[in-house]
């Protein structure tokens, strides 16, 4: 007789208002194996994971641990059962520092009851950061860290509990290749030491790299189960996922005009030096680099969210310096931030209001909003973006993370900026939605809209962009014109500082 699975969830049902997120999902997790849970936005993957981790309660269904039925009411009871989860929406306290976050809710007590043992916490925290390959000041508040660092810390927080069952929900959403490799090495070590791992993702490549088993979730149910074999390809997974074949089409190069839309010369920010680049009308330009390379600050300095210390920026030949995102938008530069929860959504407002936030003036006269026009515009745009929603009047938080991202993308596109600065626009979006997004971007490019694409996804950066700049340690070290997947090794070497002197290919 085979041993009972480490964790078994059977017949899980969960509804949010009128949306039925789970309809009888069943999944087993076995010790020492990585199970990937793959599905489109809104298919219920995150809900499933959150129920196992105790972050949400199921309406119906049973969960068994080693064959014994258990009740998981809250994250604390899940933790007591040896279950730890890395949330897609980060659960870090922004004003607490690195160490305090790592031990939040399970502080190590010292000799005096109620007082925690700072020394031992710091030591354990440093050891965990080393395993994650991070060098950070332990007393830095989380607020001051970039998205990727936050995500790595979130992972470290879960790993430091030494769980028997580890749930990772889109852990690589804003990580670059180097951090992903570090993470995978850690996950493999945990698996080999007997941890059961549930890996929620929609990155097909990650499934093939890390998983032993893949379960496909569709409409709140597990639609297929497969062992991951060496022969399995991404195309197989796509077929399982959406039941049809889809290929990522390389972008067609676009003819460049004579005057660049944006010309950046010798730009300096707190983390970068003498950065020069340009973006032509109708061009998608990628800026790629590992965490801490300084690209985030460059993007933000273009919309007035980060101080620009030196250098000049010209927009359509005119000197330009952004004072605020509102000012940048008026000049024609839009912005989509990567931290959806903290910097993107209006949590207690409707989908419609979230979508229309940057584009209210066209739907109004003399500052008074034309309600019906606004509603029709919103519903039309939501349909065009492929958002799955019950009603545009529901709170945006009733949508899955990926659908929220589509709404925010729609918000950024709606004012039709000349240039849109995108920070990780496809983080947490499934493959179908990504294709929709790529197509939307290409459609707007034909109309002359340009994009500064700062994704952590190497594949999409190489296939979508017309040109890619590689950044390393605050400088641009390489430029690739008309990139293809063949440039993968070159780009990786460049962003890791192994590319030699600045060159252009």
């Amino acid at each position: 007789m085979t041993p009972a699975p480490a964790l078994s969830a059977a017949g899980l049902y969960k509804a949010f208002g009128s949306t039925q997120a789970l309809r009888g999902a069943h999944l087993d997790l076995e010790a020492g194996r990585v199970c990937a849970l793959l599905g489109e936005n809104g298919s219920g993957k995150s809900t499933f994971a959150k129920i196992i981790a105790g972050a949400q309660g199921a309406d119906r269904g049973t969960i068994s641990r080693d064959g014994i039925e258990v009740t998981i009411d809250d994250p604390a009871s899940a933790r007591a059962l040896g279950i730890a989860m890395v949330f897609q929406e980060l659960s870090l306290a922004p004003d607490l520092d690195v160490v305090d976050n790592m031990f939040l809710g399970r502080e190590r007590t010292g000799k005096l009851p109620g007082f925690f043992d700072r020394k031992s916490e710091e030591k354990a925290c440093r050891a965990m950061l080393d395993r994650l390959g991070l060098t950070l000041n332990l007393r830095r508040p989380i607020r001051s860290l970039g998205m990727a660092h936050k995500q790595m810390l979130e992972i470290g927080k879960a790993l430091s509990q030494q769980p028997a069952i580890l749930i990772l929900d889109e852990p690589t959403a804003s990580l670059t290749r180097r951090e992903i490799e570090q993470l995978f090495a850690l996950v493999q070590r945990m698996r080999d030491s007997g941890t059961a791992i549930l890996y929620v993702t929609h990155h097909l490549r990650e499934v093939l790299e890390i998983a032993d088993h893949v379960s496909i979730m569709r409409d709140g149910r597990i639609a297929a189960n497969r062992e991951v074999t060496r022969q399995m390809t991404e195309a197989d997974l796509v077929e399982l996922l959406i039941g049809k074949t889809a290929r990522l089409q390389p972008a067609a190069p676009v003819a460049s005009s004579s005057v660049p839309l944006l010309e950046v010369s010798d730009l300096c920010t707190s983390t970068s030096h003498d950065v020069s680049f340009h973006i032509d009308n109708g061009e998608i330009v990628g800026l790629y680099g590992v965490v801490g390379c300084g690209r985030e600050e460059i993007g933000r300095s273009l919309v007035g969210l980060h101080p620009l210390l030196d250098g000049t920026v010209k927009l359509s030949g005119q000197t330009y310096k952004a004072r605020s995102p509102a000012h940048a938008l008026a000049a024609g530069i839009g912005f989509l931030p990567s931290d959806r929860k903290q910097e993107g959504i209006l949590p207690n407002r409707s989908i419609r209001e979230n979508l229309m936030l940057s584009n209210l003036w066209p739907a109004s006269r003399g500052g008074v909003i034309h309600q019906r026009r606004e509603r029709t515009t919103a519903v039309g745009q939501l349909a065009a973006l492929g958002v799955r929603f019950a009603s545009a009047e529901h709170a945006i938080t009733t949508l899955s993370g990926g659908n929220q991202q589509k709404v925010l993308f729609g918000r950024a596109l709606a004012p039709r900026p000349k240039l849109l600065v995108l920070e990780d626009p496809t983080a947490g979006i499934d493959i179908g939605a990504k294709h929709d997004l790529y197509n939307t971007i290409r459609g707007h490019r034909v109309d002359g809209m340009s994009f500064l694409w700062m994704s952590s996804d190497l594949t999409e950066t190489l296939t979508l962009c017309d040109r890619v700049y590689a950044m390393y340690d605050g400088r641009i070290v390489s430029e690739i014109v008309a990139p293809t997947m063949a440039h993968e090794d070159h780009l990786l070497a460049a962003v890791l500082g192994r590319g030699g002197a600045m060159h252009r290919i």
Partner: protein, 323 residues
């Protein structure tokens, strides 16, 4: 397991939603009916008119408080700014006449509001501290200018027309209050500015990133709060026939309580003028009903406190169900 037999579960949030939409109006009717049965005098024109006049100042103060709460802050200075505006206006009567004095009241309120807004935005200080300081500044100025004594030099025509006048039985002060509430409700509901107030209260960083000029929105919010305090000063001085340096003490907390009892989120970003109005009526009606029932004023204070706490608990249950 056949999923086709799975019926849609009714959303758990429905009962609470229903409570939010119809609970307060129902409570208002219930209080009115019960009190009316016990005390037929309750339904007399005199008492209803009296009630409406009593409500009017708080009704106007609540407008500014609602804007402040929706934008994610609060305004503790509304009552003392109202008192100070009243004092300034009445002191100005000999120089600018009655009409001018009314404008002075609104302008003084507006200036206090702009000062609040400028400090909050310019120095990124929390509205709690800034408006707490302004509460004291306004009160101190009122006391200095009056020597601590009420000014009884309120023009008779103001008292007669606005304080005790009525059009077709509806008190003039009540008409002003309802008109102000309606006008600002429309601003909140139908304008780009109103939408931006909600956006800032819901997530100021996201609003900023999306091109909303958060600083200007907040400045406008506190300016509105100040100006409506000035308007409340007009009604208040007309009604009590005096400009008292300590008029409406405690009304800053009453206004917050009314808005919250109405179901507006304390954390900002969600709520309507109608909810704020319900809150005013529930609190006002409750104290009137308790008065008529002969409940001691000490016990009244306690009952009002319990109602506020209940409202907060209901608000929590509702938001939890909605998540």
């Amino acid at each position: 397991m056949t999923p086709t037999t799975m019926e849609r579960k009714p959303a758990a949030s429905r009962p609470y939603h229903a409570m939010a939409r119809f609970g307060l109006p129902f409570l208002i009717v219930a209080i009115a009916v019960i009190t009316g049965i016990r005390e037929p005098h309750f339904w007399s024109l005199a008492n209803v008119q009296n009630l409406a006049r009593q409500f009017a100042p708080l009704q106007i103060l609540v407008i500014g408080q609602l804007f402040a709460l929706l934008s994610g802050g609060l305004d503790l200075s509304v009552a003392s700014v109202m008192a100070c505006s009243g004092v300034a206006g009445i002191l100005a009567v000999p120089y600018v006449g009655l009409g001018g004095s009314l404008i002075v009241m609104i302008l003084v309120g507006l200036l206090f509001g702009l000062a609040n807004g400028a400090l909050i935005v310019g120095f990124s200080v929390s509205p709690f501290i800034v408006t707490l300081g302004m509460l004291s500044v306004a009160k101190g100025l009122s006391l200095l200018f009056t020597g601590g004594l009420p000014l009884y030099t309120v023009p008779d025509s103001l008292v007669d027309n606005l304080g005790f006048g009525a059009v077709l039985g509806v008190p003039a002060s009540s008409i002003v209050a309802f008109a102000a509430m309606l006008a600002w409700a429309l601003v909140l509901r139908n304008t780009v500015f109103g939408r931006h107030v909600y956006a800032v209260g819901s997530n100021a960083v996201a609003a900023h990133n999306s091109g909303v000029r958060v600083g200007r929105v907040l400045l406008a919010v506190y300016a509105i709060s100040g100006a409506t305090s000035g308007l409340a000063a007009i009604i208040m001085t007309a009604w009590v026939s005096a400009a008292q340096p300590l008029a409406g003490e405690g009304m800053e907390l009453q206004s917050i309580a009314a808005v919250v009892v109405g179901g507006v989120a304390l954390a900002g970003g969600s709520g309507t003028m109608l909810q704020a109005f319900y809150g005013v009526v529930v609190l006002g009606l409750l104290s009137n009903a308790l008065n008529m029932a002969g409940v001691s004023s000490f016990l009244q204070v306690l009952v009002v406190g319990v109602v506020i706490l209940l409202a907060v608990i209901v608000d929590r249950l509702r938001t939890r169900a909605a998540i």
